[in-house]
């Protein structure tokens, strides 16, 4: 049996929701209210070592026959490895390698950039004026120190100008890379829709709302067209329909950290 623990269909949570629907795999949806810290309450899924040490920050957990699978891109690679139907990964090794190379760039550059802007603009206001001292005991249960710090930044809206500027630079760089790739082909890797498109779309989908100055019809026409093509897919519509807030593009939680050097 497949169970997916997920929050709003945005960012890392969106990837497996799309992939499961694309592949037509039945699964039990376990909606987690991340802003209520349900994922850290006693009685919640006891995390495996790998789940505890995730590099993705807050993100989905897939449980398949008792085994926990995390890290959203590797999760959708897992679905390809475990379930042959409706492949979304090209057969050629060079294409598979390019998907992994996109994944590294997305996880280390695009996601930290987009996520920092999203947390500053959407998550920090949620905590404004609230007494967050009660959360400290809960944060102590998070083994990854940079994820604890990610939450503290949101509680205090403590994002420095340098960090916000660097995040904007990373988003621009990433969107430009997508725009350039789409000048060569309709999809990011090879000639068909693949895991790389799902990976990048999951981050990019919110940017027409979050950073309309960067992603828009005149600056990035190919990206807008690509977004529309993906949004119109039945599987993507089904994934986005799992939203309970009605505005999944505004749902951000601390994600992967910015690279510390080089």
């Amino acid at each position: 049996m497949l169970e997916l623990y997920h929050w709003e269909p945005n960012g890392s949570y969106l990837k497996p929701l799309i992939a499961l629907h694309e592949k037509g795999l039945p699964f039990r949806s376990r909606y987690v209210d991340v802003l209520a810290f349900e994922q850290y309450q006693p009685g919640f899924l006891a995390p495996s070592r790998e789940t505890q040490l995730n590099q993705e920050g807050e993100g989905p957990v897939l449980v398949h026959d008792g085994q926990q699978i995390t890290e959203s891109l590797f999760m959708i690679e897992y679905l390809e490895d475990a379930f042959a139907q409706v492949p979304r990964r090209p057969a050629e090794p060079i294409a598979q390698t390019r998907i992994l190379a996109w994944a590294r760039f997305i996880n280390e550059v695009f996601m930290p950039g987009a996520n920092t802007l999203g947390c500053h603009l959407q998550l920090a206001p949620h905590f404004k004026g609230r007494d967050t001292s009660a959360f400290e005991a809960m944060l102590a249960r998070i083994p990854m120190k940079h994820l604890q710090e990610g939450w503290r930044l949101a509680f205090t809206d403590g994002y420095s100008d340098d960090l916000l500027q660097d995040s904007e630079r990373k988003v621009k760089l990433s969107v430009q890379r997508i725009e350039d790739a789409l000048a060569q082909s309709a999809w990011l890797v090879g000639s068909s829709y693949s895991l790389a498109d799902i990976d990048a779309f999951a981050i990019c989908n919110a940017l027409t709302t979050l950073t309309p100055g960067i992603v828009n019809k005149s600056a990035t026409p190919r990206t807008i067209d690509w977004l529309e093509r993906i949004r119109s897919r039945p599987a993507v519509r089904a994934a986005l329909a799992t939203s309970r807030t009605g505005a999944p593009e505004r749902a951000f939680a601390p994600g992967p950290e910015h690279s510390r050097w080089g």
Binding site: Q55, Q96, T97
Partner: protein
């Protein structure tokens, strides 16, 4: 034809070499002198515009990213499998690769660069170094090189790297107490990435990587060191840096 452009066969440069040696694939080795900044030369930028090493070219096609190159080698050539067949173990292999690439590797190399690269650069002409830094294509790499050359890692940054190494080593030890290799029952790309990044640990961070504190981690490093493919890979080294590996040889009674 397979060509690998690499520096000393450890860290990122060591990864695809180890994979090719394990797979039994012949490749052309092109040694790039990192400390001579060969990786930012116009000739090299024609091969890899990012100016990073390693680079791998197979039949004229550039294959990106050192960890992804290893999967490519496994998927493309005949030879023993470097990835588990079981989907969960394959997932766990990728998970550990990311743990090394994103979490541990940068910490290990920050401290490594402070002790190896910084002192080597102190002997160079400052004007020349400045010009070398300016021609680095990626901003992240420019920052990394500046910090290493001018020794501007803050004490807090170095302490955080140290904390991560101790934290990471503890978790590797715990994982290897549960199973022989990081992904599961078989030696895989995850172990090769781990070895490439962590083989210097018993020398650089002996207080955490020793037989009393981390017997499984130490045994894992020694088992990998003893593999014929590892020896073939390490034989491509040219500098003093490679002496760190000799510590992994078992002492004969």
């Amino acid at each position: 034809m397979l060509t690998l452009y690499h520096w000393e066969p450890n860290a990122n440069s060591g990864k695809p070499i180890l994979a090719a040696c394990e797979k039994g694939v012949d490749f052309e080795s092109r040694y790039i002198d990192l400390l001579g900044f060969d990786q930012h030369s116009p000739e090299y930028l024609k091969i890899n515009p990012n100016g990073t090493i390693p680079a791998m070219v197979h039949d004229g096609v550039l294959v990106p990213e050192s960890t992804a190159m290893m999967e490519y080698i496994d998927a493309t050539f005949e030879g023993p499998p470097l990835r588990p067949q079981d989907p969960f173990e394959r997932w766990r292999m990728r998970w550990w690769c990311r743990f090394f690439d994103q979490f541990l590797g940068p910490s290990v190399s920050m401290i490594g660069w402070k002790f190896f690269v910084g002192p080597a650069m102190a002997k160079r002409d400052p004007q020349e170094l400045k010009a070398r830094i300016e021609r680095i294509p990626l901003k992240e790499r420019r920052i990394a090189w500046s910090k290493a050359i001018y020794g501007t890692f803050s004490p807090e940054e170095l302490a955080e790297s140290k904390r991560r190494i101790v934290f990471g080593a503890t978790h590797i030890e715990a994982a290897l107490a549960e199973r022989p290799w990081l992904a599961g029952a078989s030696y895989s790309i995850a172990d090769m990435v781990g070895f490439s990044m962590m083989a210097g640990l018993p020398v650089m961070h002996a207080e955490v990587a020793n037989d009393a504190e981390a017997p499984h981690l130490m045994e894992w490093l020694r088992k990998i060191y003893e593999r014929p493919a590892t020896h073939k890979c390490l034989a491509l080294g040219r500098t003093e840096m490679m002496r760190r590996f000799a510590h992994l040889a078992r002492k004969t009674a």
